[in-house]
Structure formats: structure tokens, C-alpha cells
Subunit: 729 residues, 2 copies
């Protein structure tokens, strides 16, 4: 028997050696090699002949399923386990294809996106079980995507995934920008370390969260940003996560091999599949400049074009909101101080108000006035609906109904008032992760929104999922997030989901998904603070999958001024807060601070008023993850540019050019920068504003304070009159 | 420390001894004794001075909850665990009350139901934790109900139940009619044995089911029917199961103590509670005649009056259906023989039909014709909607959409046709236990029903629950069943839910719940057969909580005549099948066999046509669980009676009187009985029909064959002409 086994393996090995496959990216810089060794599919990826991913195994383990029978299993075939899709394979077919198209996103960083790749589809047959799968590779100039496809067939129809065993073998002890692997939260600070240091730094990295489930001392999340010892920038993530569990990565820190680790359900299973079906794409974005990663559209390109017949109801949004005051403790979401409430039972109308309720009609009108005065599109209002007294941590099933306002929030009057001012109110649906409850009310809640003039909703999934035992990133709940988006589309409602699964480019297919949180946002500046380098990393990690509702724009860093019991400090200079509107791309941008704080700094606030939220072009001018990022973006349908730069706690001097401006034209650049004595901790509000003339020949050397940055609006001069009194840069 | 503990216990003991409480039933036959011993609440129940339940402990264990803090916990108080509501109690308040009212059910076995009890509410305070609970006892002439109540209080607000520890200590090794304890199915054959034999018989008792989760070698289900060694009939169950997990019982078979064992969720937790709240009622129905149990309305009385403003849309239903032909294998639910389908993907219109699809328009019209001809109200049609090809056992989430018919089922035409014949079609919603999927489509599905003339739905929950890890009888899913009922009520739709949790009298509060399965129904006669004594037990067990859609009326016992591959035999005589319309009370009664089989025996079928489905009065004439049951029932709004008798495999002679008939009146009794040579196995279709005159002086001695029985219609004679040629009984 042992001998026979050897013969079989040798035979398979022989077959696969001659069947090794190789494809290159359209520009030839990347090369994928694929083969089957001893029955095991393996791939590797070269970037300009440097190893981006060394030989790495592919496959999946299935849960035992007695229904799979192998009628013709003969001698020598028993050595392949029926529940194993990791070995026993031979290549039985290969197909290659070239693809090149340019498409226009509904909203985005650029006007046109080129989707250009070479494709290799390999059919892998497991002779012993008479099953086959297809691994489809798409190699772009900026990286590789591949997925598993499971065609309908007799011996592979319904199956349960025990684990996906996709490896990413790195060439060495890369520098990594990582979050602890988790099934329920991404709201960790990014740790920057070599992979060999992950294990030692894990304990401190796992900070408390409202819901969290770690799984391994070397587990990390995607998007995972890496910098190899030989200088390659590598980003590993997934695209088109639909009807599948989200992927974490488990690190073999001896060999520097990362392996997929899917989010389990309550029983520990990883996915329920019916053929024909496929996995999400596994993505490896590679470049030799950090900016290559930031400019990649590979993940969007691996998602399907939009499924919506019309998208004209989807619009980028700049908004303010009744929110930061609750986050900082200045006001409350809840209307009363009752310790315990029950919807339909508690008489809110006759309950004693706590006097600190943020979402009251008068106060919301003040926000509407402020929004209208300064040209915003919308006002988010949280805490408007009954149930906030005990919504968190009580594992309440019927926690919100999404349609019943507190007594002091007059929906009709605010609808009327906002409409009269040309302002939209953004709905808020905190689900408290009671997912069934949300789905029960969803249709009614969306109808309520339409009836009352809302066209966008911020949804939230704080706390442990109900049904208990499910996780935020499992297949069952991922299915829910997409249901919420597609149901919303029926009502022409845009969705900004917080605490949902990491984005994977689904906004291409479902462009009413105009935002997600899925990372440690600005709110953490009020919960102890974000690291000063936080915003130099997020575009390399979280933002790879889609826009983030980061809620920048905090002008008052000393939060005790808002709420005496809040001792947090916002770890950023004011100038850098402006830069984030450019560096943290999103079609949904909040000016998160209170109107009273903006009124103190109206000259700086002007940038937030001016900055675009949709773009025809975007360029990375400088970038190094963890250190700095400088973006220049061209506003949609205009000739104006906006530049933002963010740096880490060390400060630096940024050197950029303006060579992307039209030749021969003059522009007025308004530079919002850190003052010389600015510092994110000790002097964050020290900024300078200067106006200068720039052309495509201009160059700027700009100081950035520790935890600082700068923002520039670059407006094409209409005439010479405008330039009067301005100097050249 | 030990000494102090002793003193405390002694003190508590002393307090409780003087605080022992006792109340009696209105007629004085039952006596409840309650006290606290060593801090532990205990109760006992006497029936005519015989122990029905010996001293039994009460309490609950909570899941560890760090949020419960005890500010004033002082010396000597630490011995009570913060997560323990089983000890450390003292009685701090008692209240008693008498109650007597008579109410009319929307439908039922009797016109008027008397709700007459004496109540004792005991407040139990746990001094160490500064918490209190209330145990409320209601003692009726036919038994006891009690529940735990958890008032809103500082130290008991949100809590998780680890286990309810309610005991029912029996006086000895009672005879029990039991099902294996299970979280997912009640579809077992009842085992009749002494309690001491449960452990030994468990293995054989656990027969296969589409979804099953047993939990203990001595676990049993409720309603549990018992007969004590001293001759008491005792039934243990629960009433008003709302927002709580269903109760099984775990048997200590050395001491004959039964203890509650709740259905867990995916994490093993038993219930999520927010005060004020309460447990369901735990019920102990007691009598010294078996008929006392069958006539008890205690469980209905412990449920709240109906919450519906109008109930005139709720009507009892006698129906036929396109169902038995699928159950027996003669036709199929599915339209094609495709091995795998996906809704929205599979093109059913162009798929090859299998030629055996039961729910085709023409065939359904034949059922409508049959129903109209014979005076039925409705036709159930299963397998009308797409998805049946692979609906079971594949753990498919999106398995049905509840609105898309197969190509050969013309919803509009059948609506028109049925309406023209005065027949309703009963909708069928098999969920395949994909509960979220059902809720997503529920509103649309109910609207579809209303638009197409349906006013009743049979729902089904076959297979393991999705979300995976939840059980059929857990709090989360119980919440769903009630949601389905109350949502249906908004559309004036009646619900008959199969595979749902055991009924607990909720049909009083929600009378559109006109039926449930929740036991081994007639379908099992096609899956190997039910025991011949099955229907002599079900009224003592399953039916205690509410009506069952048992689907009787099978006339052809040799199922190979319907489908050659079916080798099952229906273990009943034909005459007994008629009796079941009387012995198995339900406002929803099916004539389950095929029209062609009824056409062969139209004289016997006449009883099914005549029998009522709603009653002004019901009397148990004879009963012994496992042996025989004879009921006489008076049809709603008429002076006609219907009698049914079912017996076990031994056969017997039934002796009944007619003394409930009006004095001085003459009635025509049509007696449908087993022939002398009838036998459920060898000669089931041998029956006799005779017409005789009966008065309130008449007595009948009627032979019942093994596995047989009889049915009698007793129609008041309109005039002497009708009696012509008939003899007196």
C-alpha cells in the first residue's frame, strides 16, 4: 500500500511538472507561476523578478459530509480524503484570456478606471473523488487576484467549508502593518512590526472592544500591508466578499507564511456552499513604490459592474451631525436617564427628560442652519429614536424599532425645516447587532425614511451579534449587510454601515454603499486617542477595500472643553484634520466637530467648505506607510485640485510639485499648514494660512509638525484680478 | 465562618417554618404547600390527600454576569452566589386572591370555559444580593400552575438563564407516557414505561428525525403524562410559552424527581431576560380519573385572553389536500428532477418536468371539485412553489421565496376556480427551517396570500434551524413562531405551524393559531407506521397544549397501492380513522386520503362530511392513556353530537351511555364501527354502519377491533318520519 501511494504521488508529480503554468501582467512586471506538486496546487508571484509571494499552497478543507459518495473509487484512490480539497489534484485544463476595458465609477477617486489583466483559469481534478475545481488568476500591472470556483457537479454540490487553506508565503521577515485577527472588530490600533514580532506584540495589541473574538497569537486581519526586506510593498486582502465568510490570516512566524483563516459561525463552520459558486478573490497588490498600492484599483476591478439600472440617485455627501457631542460626552443619545426601558411599554412621553438629549428638534435645527449656511449637504442625527437608555451590552433582542422618535424629536417638523433649507437629514439605524430585529423593521424603516425625506442611512452594529454565537464577519451576517444595502437600493437609499465587515470593493457593484467604518475611526480620539501615525496607515490597509466614514475635521483637541469628564486628546494638529479630507478618500465626508468649534476657526473651516468629495483624478505625491501620505486630487467636473498631507509623530518636510496642473494656467493655492511651533499634543491649533500663485512648474517644500500635515486648495484663477496682491509660490 | 453560616441557615429555616403557606383549590380537592427550607423555596401538591408532587425545589441558575454588584453585601452574605437564584431566600411577602370567571373561546371543545382558581403570590427575597423574585401559584380544581416573576429592580435587570431548576418530585415510580427529551423534534413514538425504565428504553426510543438533539439518557418531553402508583393521573407541561425557551424535563431516576431542562441557544444559554418579566407557567394537571386530564382547561386558563380586537375572520376549517399523495410517494412536491436548483437562477419554465408533480393546476382543480362536492371548506396544496428539488438537508439559506409558483401551477386561475366553487386554498410555507429567509419574505408572502384569496397557511420547519446552532424550541425561535402568528393576524391569516415548538395554550391569546403539528402525525403511517395505541395517548400528551393537525381519515391502509415502493401500513382500522375526528380535537381537520380512496367508501366518508369541527360541549365517556379514549362532543350551535372511540392493539368492548342527550328527544345515531373480523393490520377496512334510534336513556356496548374504534353521529330527529324503519339501540 505504501509503495502504491508513492507511485501515485510520483505519477501526479510527473504530470504536474510538465503542466506548470506561467502568465505575466500586461506590462510584464508581474509573473504568476502555478503548478501542482505532489497533487497540491501551488502558486508564486514575482514582481520585477523579486519574489512577492513564494511558492504557496492552495486548497480548502471541507466539513465531513457523509452524502458525498465516490461510486467509482478504485484501487489507489483511497489516499485522498473525501473532505479534502487540498491535494490529490492534477491539472486537466487551462484557459488563458486577456482583458482590457475602461469603466466609470458612479463616484470615486478617478473618472476612468482601467481594468486590464491577463487571466489563467486552471481546472484541477481530484481523480480519486471525481471532483474538480477551477482556480482563476487575474494578473494586473498592480497585482494578482485569484479565486476558487466550484462548478456544479455530481460529487461537489452542497458542501460546508471547514477551512480555506490559501497560503501567502512571504520571502522573509517583512515589515507589517497589522491588526490582531478578529471575527468581530477591526477597531484596533495598527501595530507596525516585523512579522517575527507579531506574537510578542499581540497581547498589547488586543485592546478592549464592544465585541471581539480573537483566534490566534499570530492572527492578523486583512487588508494587511507589508514591506518586504527587498523593498516591495505588498498588500493582501480580498475582493467581492459575497455569501462567504470574511478572511483573516494566520501567520506561521517561523516560515513567514500567512494562511487564510475564515470567520466561523456559531458551530465553528466557515461557509455553506452550493455549486456553482466561488470564493471571493484573494488579492495581492504589489509595487516598488508605496504609492503604487494607494493608486491600485485592482480590488474594484475584481468586483462586478453595478447591478443597478439607475444610479442617478446616488450622490456624494458632505455632512455635519449631532454626533461628536455624544461621542465626547457633552450630550446623550438617550432622552431619559431611565436604567431600563422596553419599547412599547415604557412611556417616554411622560418620562423625565435628562436635559442632555442631543437630538432635540431645536438643537437639530441649529445644525441644519449651520449646514445650510456653510454649504453642506446633510445633517446626521443620532439618538433620535427610542431605546437608547439601555441599548448596549444588554443583549436585547427588541432593542430599537427604527421609526419611533423620542418626544422631543419632531420628525415632520424637521423634515419640513431641513427641506426648506435645502438640507437632507441622514437617518441613523443603530441595530445593537440585533440583526433579526433590524431585518424585521427594515422595510418599514426604509419606508419611513422615504416618507420623511431621508435618502441616506448610517447603520451600526455595535456589540455581540444576535443570534448569539454568530460573528460580525461570518457568512450569515455578511449576507445581512448586503441584504440591507440591496433592500435600501429599492428605496433609493444610500448606506453607510459601521461595524460591518471589512469592505472588499462591493461599492462598485452596489454603489449606494457610500461608506463604511470597519476600522478605528475618529471616535477613538475621544476614547483615549488614535496614534499620530494612524492616518498614514489607514489608506494602505482599511481603505484598500472601499471608502471609510472616518469623520475628520476635529478642531478642538482638548475634549475636556466639551465634556469635563473626558480626558482624551485628539492626536492631530488642526491643519492635518483638514488634510484628511483629501488623504482619506470617501464620497461621504463629515465635518465632525461642533459648529461652535468651527465658528472659532472659520478661516481654517473654509477648506472643509471648499474641498470636493468626488474626483476626476487622484495622484499620490508622497507615501510611506506609517510615516506620511500626500495626495493631490482633482475635483469632479472642475479644474480645481485639493492636496492633503498627513505625517506621523515625528514631523517632516514635504516636498511636492504641481506638475499635474494644466500647463500655462495660473492657480491660487491656499495653503493650510502647521505653524512652526505646532505639535499634535502640545500645540495642535497653531496653523498658518497663506495664498500663493502656483503653476505646473511650482514646487513646494512644506513643514509638517509632529502629528501634523497640511491641506491646499488649488483653484484655477478666473482672471488676473484674482491674482492681484498674491505672490508666486 | 462555618459556624456563622450555620446560624444564618438556622435563622432562615426558622423564619420560613413559621411562614409556610398553604392554599387549596376552590373545591378543596387540591392543596399546595409552599415554604422555604434552608433558604431554598419548596412546594408540594396534594390531591385528595394523596401526594401529586412531593416537596420539590424551585429556582434558577443565572449565567455569570459581572455587572451584578452588591454594594451592601456584608458579613455572612457571601455564601450566596450572585448567579444563583436557587437559595438564600426568605419569604418577605405573600398575597392571596380568588378568581372566578367564565369566558368563551373563539373556537374550542366547549362553549364556555370556567377559569376558577385561588392564587398565592410569594415574594422571595435574597438578602445577600438584595434581589427578590415572585413565585405565583394558581390552584384550580384540576391542577396547579405556577411561574416565576422577575420585577424590575436594581440588582436584577438584565440576566441570562443558565438553567431553570424547577423540580417535580413524584411520589414513586410512576407509569409514564414519554418522548425522549429533545431540542428539535417531538416526532417520536411515545414510550409507555415506568420512570425507572426510561434510561433502559431511551436508546430504542430515539428514532431518526430530520432534526434532533437529545440531551440526557433520562430526558423526557412535556406534556408528560403520568399515572402514579396510587392511581393519580398527573400531567406536567407549561402554559403561555412566550419569549422563553421550551422546557424539557430531566429525570433523576433514583428519586423520581423531574427537573426542568430548557432548550439552549447556540452558545448553550437558556434565555435572555429583562425585568419586568416572567417564566411561562409550569402546569400540573391532576385527577383520579384519566378523563379529568382530558377535560382540563387549566392550560388555556393560564394564557391571556385574546389580544385581537376582532376575531370574526378566524374560522374552523375542514379540508382536503394535495399532500398525502406526496407523503406516500405517489406524486412529488418538486416539479423537476433537477438535482440542484437556485432560486432566481434556475429556469424552471424551460426545465424538464418530472411528470409526477402533484400541485399542477388541473389536479388541484380535481381536489377543488371534490372538496366542493362534499362540503369541505378548503384544499391544502403543498409543493406549489419553486425550490422543492433540493429543499431538505442541504442547509440552504435562500431555499424558498414563498411567492413564485412552479410553471404548472396557475395561481390566478386557481384563485378564480376555487372562489367560483366556494373553496379556499390553504397556502403552504415550508421554511426548511431557514428562519431568517422566511422572515425576509413573510410580509410579501402574506400580501401575496391576501391578493390571491388565501386566508390560512400551513407553515413547516423541517430540518436544522438556520442560523445554525439554534434549536427548534429555543427562545430565539419561539420568538419567531409567535412573530409569524402575529404578523399573519395583521393580514387576517390563520396559521397551522408544523415542526414548531410544543403548543402551550397560546391559541387562547392568538386564536389564529388554529393548529400545530408538534408530534408524530399521520404522515408517519407512511414512514413505517405509528403504534396502534398512538391515538390513545396523544390527547393526554401533545393535545394538552392545543389542537393538532393530525390529518386523519386514511381509508387505504396498504400504501403500496398508492406507491409501489412504499411498504408502510397504516396501523388503524378504517372505523377508527373516523373516530379520530372526535377524539383528536382540532378546529382544523383534514380528510387526508386521496379522493379516489374516499370514492371507494362513500358510506363511511359520510361521517367525515358530517362531523363538526367546532363544539359547544365535550365529554370524556371513557379514557385510559395507552388503552382507549371515547369522547362525545356537541356540535357548535346545534343539538347534534358526535362520538369517537379509539383503542389500542388489543381491541376491547366500549360501554357508553347517551345521558347527555336532551331528555325526551329522539336522535338518529349512525354507528360506524369495526366489523367483527376487523383488525388494524390484517383487515382494517372491515366496517359496519348501522342507524338506530337513541335517547338519553340509551346505552351502547360496542366492539372495537385491535387498533380500531368507532364513530357515531347523533342527529336530533326532525320528525317521526325520519325515524321510520329504524330500531331503538
Amino acid at each position: 500500500m505504501r509503495k502504491l501511494l508513492f507511485v501515485v504521488i510520483w505519477f501526479v508529480s510527473f504530470v504536474t511538472v510538465i503542466e506548470a503554468q506561467s502568465i505575466k501582467s500586461p506590462n510584464g512586471n508581474l509573473q504568476l507561476d502555478f503548478t501542482v506538486k505532489n497533487g497540491v496546487p501551488v502558486y508564486s508571484l514575482l514582481y520585477k523578478n523579486k519574489p512577492a509571494v513564494k511558492e504557496s499552497k492552495l486548497g480548502l478543507q471541507l466539513k465531513e459530509d457523509k452524502k458525498i459518495t465516490f461510486e467509482n473509487a478504485g484501487e489507489g484512490k483511497q489516499n485522498v480524503n473525501a473532505n479534502d480539497l487540498t491535494g490529490g489534484f492534477a491539472i486537466t485544463k487551462t484557459e488563458t484570456k486577456q482583458f482590457d476595458e475602461t469603466w466609470q465609477p458612479v463616484w470615486g477617486e478617478v473618472k476612468n478606471i482601467r481594468n486590464n489583466y491577463n487571466e489563467l483559469a486552471v481546472t484541477l481534478t481530484q481523480a480519486a473523488t471525481e471532483r474538480y475545481i477551477v482556480v482563476r488568476f487575474r494578473i494586473f500591472n498592480d497585482g494578482l487576484g485569484f479565486r476558487y470556483e466550484f462548478p456544479l457537479q455530481k460529487n461537489l454540490n452542497y458542501f460546508v467549508i471547514r477551512e480555506e487553506k490559501t497560503q501567502f508565503a512571504l520571502s522573509g521577515d517583512a515589515k507589517a502593518f497589522w491588526l490582531p485577527g478578529d471575527f468581530d472588530t477591526q477597531e484596533y490600533s495598527t501595530v507596525t512590526s516585523n512579522l517575527s514580532e507579531v506574537r510578542g506584540k499581540m497581547k498589547d495589541a488586543v485592546t478592549g472592544n464592544a465585541s471581539q473574538t480573537t483566534f490566534s497569537p499570530t492572527g492578523v486581519q486583512t487588508p494587511l500591508m507589508l514591506k518586504s526586506q527587498d523593498g516591495l510593498y505588498i498588500n493582501i486582502h480580498e475582493a467581492a466578499l459575497i455569501d462567504y465568510s470574511a478572511m483573516n490570516l494566520n501567520l506561521d512566524d517561523k516560515n513567514f507564511v500567512l494562511e487564510s483563516f475564515l470567520t466561523p459561525d456559531a458551530r465553528g463552520d466557515k461557509g455553506y456552499m452550493q455549486t456553482p459558486c466561488q470564493s471571493p478573490w484573494r488579492t495581492i497588490v504589489v509595487g516598488d513604490k508605496a504609492g503604487d498600492i494607494l493608486e491600485s484599483k485592482l480590488i474594484l476591478n475584481l468586483n462586478d459592474p453595478t447591478k443597478y439600472a439607475s444610479t442617478d440617485w446616488i450622490k456624494p455627501v458632505k455632512y455635519v451631525g449631532v454626533w461628536w457631542e455624544m461621542i465626547t460626552g457633552k450630550s446623550t443619545w438617550s432622552y431619559t436617564d431611565l436604567e431600563s426601558v422596553k419599547l412599547g411599554v415604557t412611556d417616554f412621553a411622560n418620562a423625565k427628560p435628562n436635559g442632555k438629549h442631543g437630538a432635540n428638534t431645536q438643537h437639530v435645527k441649529e445644525y441644519i442652519d449651520f449646514a445650510a449656511k456653510h454649504g453642506f449637504d446633510a445633517v446626521l442625527v443620532e439618538g433620535w429614536n427610542v431605546g437608547w437608555e439601555d441599548w448596549f451590552g444588554k443583549t436585547k433582542d427588541f432593542v430599537f424599532d427604527f421609526v419611533t422618535p423620542y418626544p422631543d424629536f419632531d420628525v415632520q417638523e424637521l423634515h419640513r425645516y431641513a427641506e426648506s433649507k435645502g438640507i437632507k437629514i441622514i437617518m441613523h439605524h443603530e441595530t445593537s447587532s440585533s440583526v433579526r430585529n433590524y431585518e424585521r423593521f427594515m422595510d418599514t424603516a426604509y419606508k419611513f425614511m422615504v416618507a420623511n425625506g431621508y435618502n441616506a442611512v448610517k447603520s451600526g452594529y455595535v456589540g455581540d451579534i444576535i443570534p448569539r454565537g454568530e460573528h460580525h464577519y461570518g457568512q450569515w451576517i455578511n449576507n445581512h449587510y448586503l441584504y440591507a444595502i440591496t433592500q435600501a437600493a429599492k428605496y433609493k437609499i444610500m448606506v453607510n454601515a459601521h461595524e460591518a465587515v471589512h469592505p472588499t470593493g462591493l461599492c462598485r457593484t452596489y454603489p449606494n454603499l457610500i461608506g463604511n467604518e470597519s476600522a478605528r475611526g475618529t471616535e477613538y480620539e475621544s476614547f483615549g486617542g488614535n496614534n499620530p501615525d494612524h492616518t498614514t496607515i489607514l489608506p494602505f490597509t482599511r481603505l484598500m477595500g472601499g471608502p471609510m466614514d472616518y469623520t475628520p475635521g476635529i478642531f478642538e483637541m482638548d475634549l475636556s472643553k466639551l465634556s469635563s469628564s473626558n480626558h482624551s486628546h485628539v492626536n492631530s494638529t488642526l491643519a492635518r484634520q483638514l488634510a484628511l479630507y483629501v488623504t482619506m478618500y470617501s464620497p461621504l465626508q463629515m465635518a465632525a466637530d461642533l459648529p461652535e468649534n468651527y465658528n472659532r476657526f472659520l478661516d481654517a473651516f473654509q477648506f472643509i467648505k471648499d474641498v470636493a468629495v468626488d474626483w476626476d483624478d487622484s495622484k499620490v505625491l508622497e507615501a510611506e506607510p506609517g510615516d506620511y501620505i500626500t495626495f493631490a486630487r482633482k475635483a469632479k467636473g472642475s479644474n480645481n485640485w485639493f492636496i492633503g498631507s498627513t505625517c506621523d509623530e515625528n514631523g517632516r518636510t514635504s516636498n511636492i510639485s504641481f506638475d499635474y496642473l494644466d500647463a500655462g494656467k495660473k492657480y491660487i493655492a491656499t495653503i493650510y499648514a502647521d505653524a512652526k511651533n505646532a505639535h499634535y499634543k502640545t500645540n495642535p491649533q497653531a496653523y498658518t494660512i497663506r495664498k500663493v500663485i502656483v503653476t505646473n512648474k511650482s514646487k513646494l517644500s512644506q513643514y509638517c509638525a509632529p502629528g501634523g500635515g497640511y491641506a491646499i486648495s488649488v483653484i484655477e484663477a478666473a482672471d488676473a484680478q484674482q491674482l492681484k496682491g498674491l505672490k508666486n509660490l
